[in-house]
Symmetry: C2
Subunit: 147 residues, 2 copies
DNA sequence: ATACTAATTGATAATAATTCTTGTTTAGCT
DNA sequence: AGCTAAACAAGAATTATTATCAATTAGTAT
């Protein structure tokens, strides 16, 4: 099954005009083995067991390519710096992918989101947040339709 | 009104055994003026107009104190490094505040969350995510009750 | 199979956000 | 006014990430 996946990936790499290198395959395999939601550093350590010469840069670049190919996706928002909010009332956010602008959304329905019972047994919930990501009015790509 | 807020803050600082300094007041005021969801750097630039000698460190420390006093709260998760996921199926997450472990949650109901119409007109939604934060089974603080 | 070319690699330097260290200053108490 | 722990400024250290660049290599054309 992993065989199958690797084949898939190599094809997609080539189809997108990218080259398939042993390093890239190793990064992808490490990604699959890891199971969870690995960091670049975790992948790096894993791959380095087989490719001691691989550079961190290569892992970053491979991850970028994989994101580009939509094989993996980054978890959570991609704000590069911590941000804070002053409104204590429970609310949620829209985050613009382009300009990183965060806007508050107040909507009672969003507060009623519930974690499924089965998960709740294993996880002590402190809170939750709903984050819509997309493009704000200023950054909306021309021609794109609102849905 | 800002007067009122400042008074509030100074009291809370003192009540928690912290000292009230002009720098701290200035950081808080910059925070209020900023309006949005400022970064530390934005606050720093703002405050420096009145306190050219203030150090970035002081801003960081003040923000930490304000978070501690629950005057402000950080937006979004607090993962220190990028993480990736390989499962393409739409799903959501629990994030452990302590160990940062991310677990997938599959629940159709969470996918039906909708951005209010009024906001939708101004924001082109690409997707949304629901993130529950709290403590995983391994990190659950002893004596804490599940709700 | 060989050669060519552009993509990729590894090493290293550069950024950027955040934290740590240290010696000096100061708020709040007595 | 004096004491002392907290807070300050300056700058070094860390950590995640990105950029630079010469050397290597995958994939294609020959």
């Amino acid at each position: 099954m992993v065989e199958r996946s690797v084949r898939n990936i190599t094809d997609r790499f080539r189809q997108s005009g990218r080259k398939v290198t042993p390093q890239r395959v190793a990064v992808f395999e490490a990604l699959c083995e890891g199971g969870g939601h690995p960091t670049v550093d975790q992948i790096y350590r894993e791959v380095r067991q087989r490719f001691p010469m691989i550079s961190l840069n290569t892992v970053y670049q491979t991850m970028e390519a994989l994101v580009d190919l939509k094989v993996v996706s980054p978890v959570g928002h991609s704000l590069e710096a911590a941000r804070y909010e002053t409104d204590p009332a429970p609310h949620h956010h829209t985050v613009c992918i382009a300009c990183k602008r965060i806007t508050d959304v107040f909507d009672a329905a969003l507060g009623r989101v519930k974690l499924p019972r089965a998960v709740k047994d294993r996880f002590q919930v402190v809170g939750h947040r709903v984050e819509f990501y997309g493009y704000c009015a200023d950054c909306r790509s021309p021609g794109a339709t609102n849905r």
